[in-house]
Amino acid sequence: MSDARKWGASALIWLLLLAMPWWLPLVGGYQELGTRVLVMALAAMSLNFLLGFTGVLSFGHAAYFGLGAYGVGMVLKFLVPSTLVGILAGVAVGTVAAAIIGAMIVRLRGVYFAMVTIAFGQVFYFIAFRWNSVTGGDDGMTGWKRQPIDLGFAQLDIGNDRIFFYLVLALFAAAVGIMALLLRSPFGRTLLAIRENERRARYLGIPVERHIWLSFVISCAFVSLAGTLYALLNNFTDPRALRWDLSGNFVIMAVLGGMRSFWGPLIGAAIFVALQDYVSSQTSNWMSIIGLFFVLVVLFFPRGVLGVFRRKAGS
């Protein structure tokens, strides 16, 4: 895809996102669904920074998503009724956890790395589940909600769904913008190098483990941001925000939309969230359908929607 076409496509995407509250009801959607797609897209795109661009498989990203969610919830419920502080706290917790865990596991590779990320995800799920008194256990954490943001010259009433959507969009834009910048930088190119051929990257003088760690931390930082927004969207969070199935959902969104393209996970998130929403409203056996969906995507559509457009060496 030439540069001009890429810019055109990006512009179109931003336009669609900006105008979402207007066209979404026309296709049978509703505001909350749109915001949810955006949040999930952020999570999937953040995961893809690690998965599609650095070539590292993490199947435990829900842990950091959940840490963000619980972080903001706990701040709003127990500390200070400030949405911004809550978001910062959520992101901070997720990032610090990722930094520590990442350092521990960065020497592992492939399936073993994936296994360990899954296991660590479970640790946080388990904590959220057990620490009833604070987290509300399986019932989830309630009794708090998103607070209007005081900008000095105005108050942003994010209790209003539409205004909240635009806040999410703004944060989404910032996060996505940073990720795009990073991927286009020399550092980003070293990540591509690691994905393409780790040995070669090492023999070009790239400290592979350190860069994988950096990519992991960056990826988890943005995923935890998505987590805070998710909790704020629902004014609620529960252990399912930390569970392995959510991790799997992030991965399938990235794969479905196209792992190797920047906007792929957004497309994947849109399709997946819409599908999930529709199926769970039609039948209580949505789990089997989603499971079947996973199987079909993997077998017949592994390069994803946008993967169809990318050229591939040897084909």
């Binding site: 020497r107 296994m115 989603i290």
Partner: protein
């Protein structure tokens, strides 16, 4: 106090034996084919439910014998039809596939057998304690440990004495060489998968007797199996066995002193191992990179 400790250690041993059985099956599949079988818990559940369904016809012992075999057959089919296509590709895809299968199995068992817990009858004489002193040594628990021991010994015998077993071991070390030597690698992977699933099915039947039947029975046991593999050592079956027993006993001991943390102990151990010896207690060097 000693009674309490003994009780919990023994319980831990029973639980550990379980984890080990599950983890061994997972490990077999992981080591030879590089597939993380997320659906392993689902196969466990299938084993349990099949035994339950067959029980009116062939009784407890029949179920114990037959259900794991049937589960293994299903496993062979799944490998042949689905998983086989993904071997050449990034491990990401087989993980996603087994993930989807886990969903399907869990929902499937719910559709077929219903969402509520089902009772699983074990023969009366097994439920009695073996001695009035050591009341916790119920027949069933001892039976389970013994059976797992038999299964493990059987597995190791298969691996060291039979042709299939030796090929699996060689294949785990170097699949390319093995195929060049004329071994049918597709069949080998298929049978290896079946063997791993047999162990899952067996674990399922045993679990049913202890925990009763629910659709979520598999999901709760799969995570500790992962940890058992990580702790015991990547690529090492004895390591996996050791890992399972260790975390079982550790969580049993933790129950004595800090009951709420008994599950957490498993993950703490995992974190420790990763910090100190990332390849696991008995793991092999090459596997990490």
């Amino acid at each position: 106090m000693t009674q309490l400790i003994l009780f919990n250690v023994f319980n831990g041993l029973v639980v550990g034996a379980f984890y080990a059985l599950m983890a061994l099956g997972l490990s077999l599949i992981l080591n030879l084919s590089g597939v993380i079988n997320f659906a392993h818990g689902g196969f466990l559940a299938i084993g349990a439910y099949l035994a339950f369904t067959l029980m009116p016809y062939i009784g407890f012992w029949g179920g114990l014998l037959v259900a794991p075999v049937l589960t293994a057959v299903i496993g062979l089919a799944v490998e042949r039809v689905l998983i086989r296509r993904l071997y050449g590709r990034d491990p990401l895809y087989s993980l996603l596939l087994t993930f989807g299968l886990a969903y399907i199995f869990e929902d499937g068992t719910r559709i077929i057998w219903g969402a509520q817990s089902l009772p699983y009858q074990i023969p009366g004489w097994l439920t009695r304690p073996l001695s009035s002193q050591l009341f916790f040594l119920t027949g069933y628990r001892v039976f389970m440990v013994v059976l797992v021991a038999v299964a493990v010994v059987g597995l190791f015998v298969i691996l060291s004495r039979t042709r299939l077993g030796m090929r699996i071991r060689a294949g785990t070390l170097d699949l390319e060489t093995v195929s060049v030597l004329g071994v049918n690698v597709r069949l080998l992977r298929n049978l290896n998968f079946g063997l791993g699933i047999y162990l899952a099915g067996l674990a399922g039947v045993l679990a049913a007797g202890l925990l009763g039947l629910q659709p979520t029975i598999g999901a709760s046991l799969i995570m500790p199996s992962f940890v058992a593999i990580i702790v015991g050592g990547l690529g090492s079956l004895p390591g996996t066995l050791l890992g399972g027993l260790l975390i079982g006993v550790a969580s049993g001991l933790a129950t004595v002193f800090m009951p709420s943390a008994s599950e957490a102990v498993i993950y703490v151990m995992m974190a420790l191992v990763l910090l100190v010896r990332p390849r696991g207690l008995l793991g092999e060097e090459g596997r990490v990179q």
